[in-house]
Amino acid sequence: MKICIINGSPKAGKSTSGLLIGYLMPFIKGNEIITYNVCKMDFSQIQFSPIQSSDVLIFAFPLYIDSINSALLRFLIELQKRGFKNKNINVYCIINNGFYEGRQNHIAASIMQNWCKAAGLAYGQTLGIGAGEMLPFFKDIPLGHGPNKSIGIAIQKLCQNILSLNQGEDLFISPDWPRFLWKIQASLCFWYPRAKKNGLKIKKLKMFVTNCT
């Protein structure tokens, strides 16, 4: 089976979408897999051809302002315009968002469902994962264990559907980690250290921009 994975993160380097694609790989090995990164694509026909003739398309991307980021949206429009050689392509999505609740990915999942309909493809399933920025901190914890317990179970379910070309109900999950702790850690372990690295004091993060040039 030919599987094309589209990393829809606008980040050229490491990304949570890339991490989630990595989690997927062991479950779908043995298939012909091609991976693309939307932000590195030049929209040439050479790059589009394998996508147009694949059996399965998997989109992994972050949630931007409740939906799909503009780079991926441009790519989807272009892909629909070019059409597909294989009319029986199944589409699956893994969406991660910065908020705690994976449920907040449901609108992006609907947009992907609408895109499938417009493009004449079969919508398989979406896995929406919350607290995406926290996932790299747990990357050394095996899937299905501790904070990665629900993610492991959900990825396994998604992969079963991918391999059998089945459709499934969308899955929305959050890491197995208390929300109040995640909220505190987001400031203390994520935003403050990064700002400090840039030479900024904490109160500077909340400043207003007064110059509009």
Binding site: I65, N69, L73, I77, I107, S110, N114, R179, K183, C212
Partner: protein, 169 residues
């Protein structure tokens, strides 16, 4: 200040809106906008301002002066057009990186305290009922994240139809 974000070409825009209030700030597609790269520089490097060097790097500040924001966008799959979505993606400096709980969901705290009134006018000949439903949910979710209390949304098959629905800008 009123803000109009649209994806129309000059040829489409001029006849539809020949007179624009001088207090209206127009954000249109000059073909130079860069994609948000998710670097969070607007939160942790130059707080409130995007680090990308183009004419759209001060959306946070522009939105901070807004009383009313009008969006005119072609509807794609229940989402905005790529340009309009690009502008919104570049608008996160209006918010802070920190979180708060609203209606049992986490959302970003706001950097600025101005209350925005939002009007979104989608157009497109072939917008399906499912796409309209998705777009409705999207605008509602955007309103929660941008602390918008009052909003309106419309769908038009053509620009002529849309013109009659857009109130004074």
């Amino acid at each position: 200040m009123n803000i109009l974000i649209h994806d129309l070409s000059n040829e489409q825009f001029q006849p539809l809106f020949p007179r624009i209030d001088k207090d209206t700030c127009i954000i249109s597609d000059t073909g130079t906008i860069r994609h948000c790269t998710g670097c969070f520089g607007c939160w942790i490097k130059t707080p409130g301002k995007c680090v990308l060097k183009d004419e759209y790097n001060n959306m946070g500040k522009i939105l901070s002066k807004a009383e009313k924001v009008t969006i005119i966008s072609k509807c794609f799959y229940g989402c905005y057009s790529p340009f309009v979505k690009n502008v919104l993606d570049r608008s996160i400096p209006w918010m802070l990186p920190f979180f708060k709980i609203k209606n049992n969901e986490t959302h970003h705290k706001r950097r600025y305290k101005n209350n925005i009134q939002l009007a979104v006018h989608f157009y497109g000949e072939n917008t399906t009922e499912e796409e309209k439903e998705t777009a409705g949910k999207l605008v509602k979710a955007n309103c929660i994240n941008f602390y918008v209390k009052n909003y309106e949304i419309s769908f038009s098959k053509s620009l002529e139809e849309l013109c009659g629905k857009v109130s004074a800008i």
